[in-house]
Chain length 346, copies 2
DNA sequence: AATGTATATGCAATCGATTGCACAAGGAAA
DNA sequence: TTTCCTTGTGCAATCGATTGCATATACATT
């Protein structure tokens, strides 16, 4: 009802000028004298005029929107609700807002092969940020082929033909495992995310490298995969305990799963950290305030999100962009104790 | 490089027909004979044609996009990373995808008054989903005034002039507190989210109602507010313990904060559940797998998200829509024990 | 053969902005 | 007074799709 001023044409009528002049005035063009600009601006403001972004974007052949492709939705049966995703989304959104870009969220749908194409070819977005990188990701290959603007969360891999930002999972896992070994742990288990996920694969390499360096044997019974959910972390831990009851250390690929794993250990009568030491990954805020506080590999999640956003914009605007590996840091808390002669009971 | 077929005009040229025919064919109009449709579809497919959604939306005066306004970003200093948000976003995104709507994410920026206007008046989105409702929310009032399409997360309040979907926080809190009372707890604390947030306010009412019903005194020392972050939950608990060391029960407005509060209790030498019983809110997956597993008030988060999405679309498409109150359910786990004569130590 | 009807297709306007080019008015220089 | 330049403004095309209306062809009806 109230407002009949929706387009530049409306303003032009009110101001007694043409649409071109309104457009130039509102875009602060030097062609228009300050006096006229001011008059037009005032009218626009008075009538609560807002630019129709879609129309401008069509004309300018851009969308000023980027899509974050994140596997958090209920893919088939499982639903991921890891704070990690929210943190990185928040950081991305903040950075994009600085550049006046909007953020579109999409759960990646592995089943739907054409997904990327629709967004890229359909000019729905100017670029994409991919969060869950698979090993030999076909979607990413497709994006390279299409020449799309996109960046990926994860450390750069040898020979990769796209830009990525992430922390060094191999090193992160290695630091965690080294710490466990130094505490005297010898039967160290590994709980990954999905087996086909690159991050998990890298961390497993770090885990294995470090065991080998210490001369410890690799044991397939000490490896389990989960899906970055609390529940899957819990069951992975139970499974490991069933297969290898002598586990005395665990490296888990996310803090959320680590918390659940600690509870599984407790339920099986193991004390953390006295019987089993455990190290998580991410250092989400929860890690500092769970019971016991979790030793974990800190990723620079917010910095990563901001870099993803700014590098994508650099790409879109045609600048040269390099991949980045962010450092990780082992944060030591109470969930890791030194091996002691089993002294449970009162 | 590769692909020179970007618009319907390109396809029209290849097919030797007009753009109108291409448009009708691809939209499966009955005006076009099946044979022609098939030919055009084949060409479109061969050349990887994708519709330019922005152009269509401009013509059709819609955006096929909705915005979720969520206070998770780093508003000033704090950053919220509660799995609750991710779950509800996931559910919303899934439902919207069914209707071919895209989901735009925006951190609400309390400082920026004109935010809503830009999205609504600027025709950036067809509708909004508001997650963190404030008491006397000025932004929401503005949306009502503008006649925007939007829905709000939270139970309907008396006299409210918009549609909302949410669970009954008064009842949820009351159930939690009643349970604590039944277990023999008498000094029951309350940890809220932000004080100006409607959900927190409702739950506090439920808390107070239930205490009064049981004839227990209200004590301001037993009330603390936090910000839905782990850290703030932790400090709220410490603060409460400093003010009222005899606390024997706590009702916390989110599971994430409850986990942190349990750790604070543990650090202060209180055993959960023997010394202090604690009840959370939400029933995120973590709640079942933390230590100890958390008694909590289950909200139907996913169902809520789906309802928000479908009701918003109903609104956009002009259908009559009613607010909904979802039931809550107390999920009893180990974090609540009956009051026992203090029997700590070996 | 003339008229009517159904079917297939195209023209051109439209959505709301941006911008190259043309043009008009005013002042300065010759 | 004429010419030239500067400054301010508008016309019209454009971005890529949709769709009402007009038209063209084929076929059926009388």
């Amino acid at each position: 009802m109230g407002n009949e001023v929706r387009t530049m044409a409306d303003i032009a009528r009110l101001a007694g000028v043409s649409v071109s002049t309104v457009s130039r005035a509102l875009n602060d063009s030097p062609l228009i004298p300050e006096e006229t600009k001011e008059r037009i601006r005032r009218i626009a403001h008075t009538y609560n005029y807002e630019l129709h972004v879609g129309a401008r974007n069509l004309r300018l052949q851009r969308t000023q929107t980027i899509a974050a492709v994140i596997p958090f939705g209920e893919t088939s049966d499982r639903q991921v609700s890891d704070p990690f995703y929210l943190e990185i989304i928040g950081a991305i959104a903040n950075k994009l807002a600085e550049y006046d870009y909007d953020l579109l969220i999409s759960r990646a749908h592995a089943a739907d092969e054409g997904w990327y194409q629709r967004y890229v070819l359909g000019k729905r977005v100017d670029g994409l940020i991919i969060i869950g990188r698979k090993l030999n990701d076909r979607g990413i290959a497709k994006l390279v082929e299409l020449g799309a603007n996109f960046v990926v969360w994860g450390p750069p891999l040898p020979g990769q033909r796209y830009v990525s930002v992430g922390s060094d999972g191999v090193s992160g896992a290695a630091q965690a495992v080294r710490h466990l070994i130094q505490l005297g742990r010898r039967r160290i288990a590994f709980i990954g995310g999905d087996e086909d996920e690159t991050e998990t694969w890298l961390r497993r390499r770090g885990y294995e490298q470090e065991l080998q360096r210490a001369g410890l044997p690799l044991d397939a019974n000490l490896i389990a995969y989960a899906h970055f959910t609390s529940e899957s972390g819990y069951f992975a831990m139970r499974q490991l305990l069933a297969r290898a009851p002598d586990i005395d250390g665990v490296f888990v690929c996310s803090d959320l799963m680590a918390v659940a794993a600690m509870e599984a250990l407790r339920q099986e009568g193991r004390d953390v950290p006295n019987d089993v030491s455990i190290v998580g990954y991410d250092d989400i805020p929860l890690a500092a305030h769970c019971s016991p506080p979790l030793t974990t590999v800190r990723q620079q999640i917010r910095r990563g999100g901001m870099l993803l956003a700014s590098k994508l914009i650099d790409l879109i605007e045609g600048r040269q962009v390099e991949s980045v590996t962010l450092p990780v840091e082992l944060i030591i808390r109470e969930s890791c104790g030194a091996k002691v002669r089993s002294a449970r009971g009162c």
